[in-house]
């Protein structure tokens, strides 16, 4: 809400010398937050004066344009008193008109410096200004022509144009709809600024009594429209200009001046907070009827849009059918035009919820709708209509018709019971009963005290006050939020981080320690991203939870995999010149499943456990994933020698390192899954559960994401790993007897995974084998095509004795025998 300061001070007096900053600081402290203080003329400097056009000579130019060579009387403002010669391209003025002139030395918004310059064969010494050039709006139909009598030539024009006006912009929260009016702002100034006094309510006026003589109105839905006031003026001059103060103030308020009839309804809306609608009375046929629409009915609104109505919409109708969306937007058929001489003024109170729904359904945001859906004061409909009539008669030459139609009565505000000590108990401030009552009354409440309880009736401009806690806020804001003491509540002994929380930190630190850099990305994805991964049509990762209103049509769903974002990130880094990249992310993915919708449960009680379970089961699974991508060098080359390129094994090892940090050992199996290289993809298993995949990326995937070939990636389900993490590990005492080392080389078929051979060797000597490590893989012609030699270092040790050569040999032979049996291994 933008409010010119002078307009606020029409209704309240503040002590001499109160600065705008002080005034707005108090408004902020009591709930109307200052957004900005603007002054339209702040970026204009130098001489800006009233000028009277003495001569205007049109001069056609070669380029087809016609310019006007003018002489303008600018009084003594130019220092000589001589007429000023100015070239002007606009044509909406005549000799004798009063115009706005910026003289050489002036600076207009945008840093536009004015100087005398030669143009079109003349020396143009200044400029005749349009509203847009002065930052007064987008109107560029021509230059500003001031009304006769607006000022004398040479007089500074800032005051006349309102350019010296400070405009206070306030943020108005939904519970302070009264702040959408000068009336409400001025009332809060009176309440909050020290020494402010004399609040003059602009809606407090004597209004003519209702009678049967006004335009006939029938309200068929008094819940939707509790009050409908209709007044009519005749003999209105549609050409009557809008007085400067009205157009300046509504412009400052953020609205565009259109015509006197429209401008005064906007003016009164800003003044009182009461939206008003004006109809061309001659276009309204018969009785005005307010009712809910029939589904499918149509109305063309003022913005030219044909609206198909829903049964819930409140419409204003005449004999022709709907002529407006009540409270939200008027209709085209009865719009006030350049020929309107009779104006029907509607000042009606509407049901806020209906306004909200209609506005949302038809995607209309209007100044009227904004006020109606937050709730305007229903008791001032007559006053607001009367004020409009007053302005139309004063400035538009109209005559008020005597009839006054008033249908309905304002809804009664609730009465709220509250313990007198509630404000103290809620705020922690010592607020006594007298203070409570005083502040509630200052807020406009009617208060009755009985024992230790009070009953308060909020004022009609506060529809938001419904609960005792609402009253508490009204008391505390006037006592002052800044007086609330600071007391740290003593919490009971907490349990610290949960185990999953601790383990997630451990995972992050482990990966960072291993050289991986964490990134955070958005979880949005599209099928195109999954195509880029090379996922097959039936890949379960293609089953996405879609968003109804995605920001991008490319990524309209919640992702099932962290890899597309990580691959893009890695590619971006490579593009930025970081050729070695190792990034990881831990984030939830969304795996939709079919289920019943999530119910909208009651709020007047705790839902049952069954109800909550239904809610829970409607949500998709959201497991925490780890994703990682690396490219470039795993170890850089340097003075120490060659580097080492990232390999599939780095991806596998990263996930194994994470598992190891959780006390888990993963089983690695060959697998084939997109986006990995089909021969270089490892499936990582924890027991029977596949927890993820790792390996080298498919060359096409690398190419698609702008990564060098042989980049690697992994993705794993951290929830499973965390769930199975070893918690209490028993201590192991290690044997101190000497170890016996044996190296064993076995030849197997190329297709036999090394892990199988290792497992067989391990299982073959379960008692004495302390450790086993594969230290070489060897292929040769001698071994034969499709054969490989695997060399293992075995370390045997007994807990209670030194092993004899025979024992060690027997254990080794047993190990090899099992490898032979299971894997066809032949010892070399």
């Amino acid at each position: 809400m933008k409010a010119p300061k002078s307009w606020i001070l029409d209704y309240v007096d503040v002590p001499e010398g109160t600065t705008t900053e002080e005034l707005t600081a108090r408004l902020t402290a009591t709930g109307l937050k200052l957004e900005a203080i603007e002054s339209a003329g702040a970026d204009i400097s130098g001489p800006l004066v009233v000028g009277r056009v003495l001569t205007r000579d049109p001069e056609p130019q070669k380029n087809g344009k016609t310019i006007n060579w003018c002489t303008v009387d600018v009084g003594d403002a130019n220092g000589t008193g001589e007429p000023q010669g100015i070239v002007c391209g606009a044509h909406n003025f005549e000799a004798g008109d009063l115009v706005v002139v910026v003289l050489p030395g002036g600076v207009l918004p945008g840093g536009f410096e004015i100087s005398a310059r030669k143009t079109y064969g003349h020396v143009s010494a200044g400029m005749i200004c349009s509203a847009r050039e002065l930052g007064l709006g987008e109107d560029h139909d021509g230059i500003i022509v001031l009304p006769e009598g607006a000022g004398e030539p040479g007089q500074d024009v800032r005051g006349i144009l309102g350019l010296d006006e400070e405009v206070i912009e306030l943020e108005v929260n939904p519970d302070r709809a009264y702040g959408l009016s000068l009336r409400g702002i001025a009332r809060d100034v009176a309440l909050s600024v020290p020494g402010a006094s004399g609040f003059r309510d602009p809606a407090l006026r004597d209004t003519p009594p209702a009678d049967d003589g006004g335009h006939p109105v029938r309200v068929e839905d008094p819940t939707g429209c509790p009050v409908f006031v209709a007044r009519t003026v005749t003999g209105f001059d549609p050409a009557a200009p809008t007085p400067e103060f009205i157009s300046q103030r509504i412009t400052a308020g953020g609205m565009r001046p259109i015509s006197l009839a429209v401008d005064v309804t906007n003016y009164v809306m800003l003044e009182t907070g009461r939206p008003i609608h004006g109809y061309d009375a001659d276009k309204v046929q018969g009785t005005v009827v307010v009712r809910r629409a029939a589904a499918g009915e149509k109305v063309t609104t003022l913005d030219g849009t044909v609206r198909t109505l829903a049964a819930e919409d409140l419409v204003v109708c005449d004999d022709s059918g709907p002529i407006g969306l009540g409270g939200v937007m008027g209709g085209e058929s009865t719009e006030i035009s350049e020929s309107t001489t009779r104006v029907l003024v509607e000042s009606a109170h509407w049901d806020a919820v209906s306004m909200f729904r209609t506005g949302r359904r038809h995607k209309i945001t209007s100044e009227a709708g904004k006020r109606n859906e937050r709730g305007a004061d229903p008791t001032i409909c007559e006053a607001a209509a009367d004020r409009v009539v007053e302005l139309l008669t004063t400035y538009g030459g109209a005559t008020a018709e005597p009839g006054v139609t008033v249908v309905g009565t304002p809804p009664r505000p609730p009465t709220i019971r509250m313990a007198l000590d509630l404000p103290a108990r809620v705020s922690g401030l010592a607020v006594d009963a007298d203070t409570v009552v005083r502040h509630l009354e200052a807020n406009g409440c009617t208060v009755d005290v009985e024992g230790d309880t009070l009953t308060a009736t909020p004022p009609p401009w506060r529809p938001d006050i419904t609960d005792p806690h609402d009253l508490v806020e009204e008391v505390v804001r006037l006592v002052g939020y800044d007086t609330i003491p600071s007391v740290l509540p003593p919490a009971p002994g907490g349990r610290g981080l949960t185990r999953p929380q601790q383990l997630r930190r451990r995972i992050g630190r482990t990966l960072a320690g291993a050289g991986w850099v964490e990134v955070v990305d958005f979880p949005f994805v599209g099928q195109g991203d999954l195509d880029a991964l090379g996922l097959s049509a039936d890949d379960p990762r293609r089953s996405l939870l879609r968003l109804s209103n995605p920001l991008s049509t490319e990524a309209p769903a919640m992702t099932t995999t962290l890899l597309p974002a990580l691959l893009r990130t890695a590619g971006r880094n490579v593009g930025l010149g970081t050729s070695s990249v190792a990034v990881f992310e831990t984030a939830t993915v969304t795996l939709p499943h079919t289920s019943e919708p999530a119910p909208i449960l009651p709020v007047d009680r705790r839902p049952s456990d069954d109800e909550l379970a239904t809610l829970e089961s409607a949500l998709p699974a959201q497991p925490l994933h780890l994703g990682l991508v690396a490219t470039g060098e795993a170890e850089p080359a340097g003075w120490w020698g060659a580097g080492r390129a990232v390999a599939w094994s780095d991806a596998v090892e990263a996930v194994r390192t994470v598992a190891d940090a959780l006390g888990l050992e993963l089983e690695v199996r060959p697998a084939s899954l997109a986006p990995w290289h089909p021969g270089r993809c490892a499936e990582l298993r924890l027991g029977d559960v596949v927890v993820g995949h790792a390996g080298e990326l498919h060359p096409q995937v690398c190419a698609t994401f702008g990564l060098p070939p042989r980049s690697v990636a992994a993705e794993a389900d951290l929830d499973v790993l965390i769930e199975h993490a070893v918690h209490l590990r028993p201590a192991t005492v290690f044997s101190t007897y000497p170890a016996a080392k044996e190296d064993v080389a076995v030849v197997v078929d190329e297709s036999v995974p090394a892990a199988d051979v290792e497992a067989a060797l391990r299982d073959g000597a379960p008692e004495l084998l302390e450790s086993i490590r594969l230290f070489d893989v060897y292929r040769s012609e001698q071994l034969g095509e499709g054969r490989k030699s695997l060399a293992f270092a075995l370390r045997f040790r007994a807990p209670d004795r030194t092993l004899t050569e025979q024992e060690t040999g027997a254990a080794r032979d047993a190990a090899v025998a099992l490898a032979a049996e299971r894997c066809g291994a032949v010892q070399r």
Binding site: A29, G31, K33, P174, D175, V353, R357, R360, R425, V426, G428, L429, D467, P468, V472, E473, V476, I484, S486, V487, L488, P489, A491, G494, R495, G496, L497, Q501, G508, R509, G515, W516, V517, E518, V520, D521, L545, R546, L547, M558, R572, S580, A582, V583, T588, P597, A598, I600, L601, V603, R606, P607, L615, E616, A618, L619, Q622, A634, E635, G638
Partner: protein, 365 residues
Amino acid sequence: MSGPNTDFDPVEVAALQPEEVESARDEALAAVAAARDLAELKQVRIDHTGDRSPLALANREIGALPPQARKDAGQRVGQARGAVSKALGERQAVLEAEHEERMLVEETVDVTLPTDRRRRGGRHPITLQSELIADIFVAMGWEIAEGPVVEAEWLNFDALNLGPDHPARTMQDTFWTEPAERHVVLRTQTSPVQARTMLTRTPPIYVACPGRVFRTDEYDATHSPMFHQVEGLVVDEGITMAHLKGSLDHLAAQLFGEGIDTRFRPSYFPFTEPSAEVDVRCFVCRGVDSDACRTCRGEGWIEWGGCGVVNPRVLVACGVDPERYAGFAFGMGIDRSFMFRHSLEDLRPLFEGDVRFSSAFGTEI
């Protein structure tokens, strides 16, 4: 000189003459002193103490002397050999020390060579900021609560006193999932975690809920469709706004430094009543002579978040007896807190994954 096969006359053993012994000793000592390195000393040792050295030969011949002469000769030869042995030992030590010193000099390397043989990792600053904030709450005895980001509409809105027609619903631009009739949204705040906590636990409740939230904001320097929030919730007997202020002042001091506190302004949130906006004192200028301060843009205070007393309607919907318990709640942006704590003016580097950005923060902030 005599040898094992020469005729043996003990009396005439010249080698055992005092002059001979002394001369052999002196020769040996001179040779020891002259040895310039360990190799020369080794040769000296062989020449003067080896089996064929004069003193060794002399020693061997002592046995041939008559008993009365043995003692004298033995003493004489023994002393000589002792002196030589001592001298050898000392010289050995000196030469070894010299050798070692020389070797260390020769082994000198250029220690200014680069040593970065391993990639440096790093954690994301927002993760670190979240953990730091969580640690502050844990130190206060609070716990960290979590919930899903794809959330039931009821938990994100209705349970928090944001009914379907509440004007405040338009204040939050919500991502809805398809189909809308399923009533599932991307949470717009971490408040549903508060609702979940109240629904599943009995007071006293002291929890903080950090996490990702979503709004349909176009991505620019100050807006992101995804950002991070931390909310706090306390439900206990006798809780007041003073406790809310105390908790936020404590958080501010822990996060931004001793003496940094907060101020409240009336505001509106459906979840709380009364509600307040929280400003935190600028930790750079501390609110003194703020005009030139870039961090707070001359305000002395920085907008931080929202807070208030939990609306009793929320307590009712979440199964907490509002007659017995009261609560407070607050929320603020983690990204935003990070941005002004670390002088970052554009939030986009947080989400663009440039490894240079994250690595700079290492594993702690």
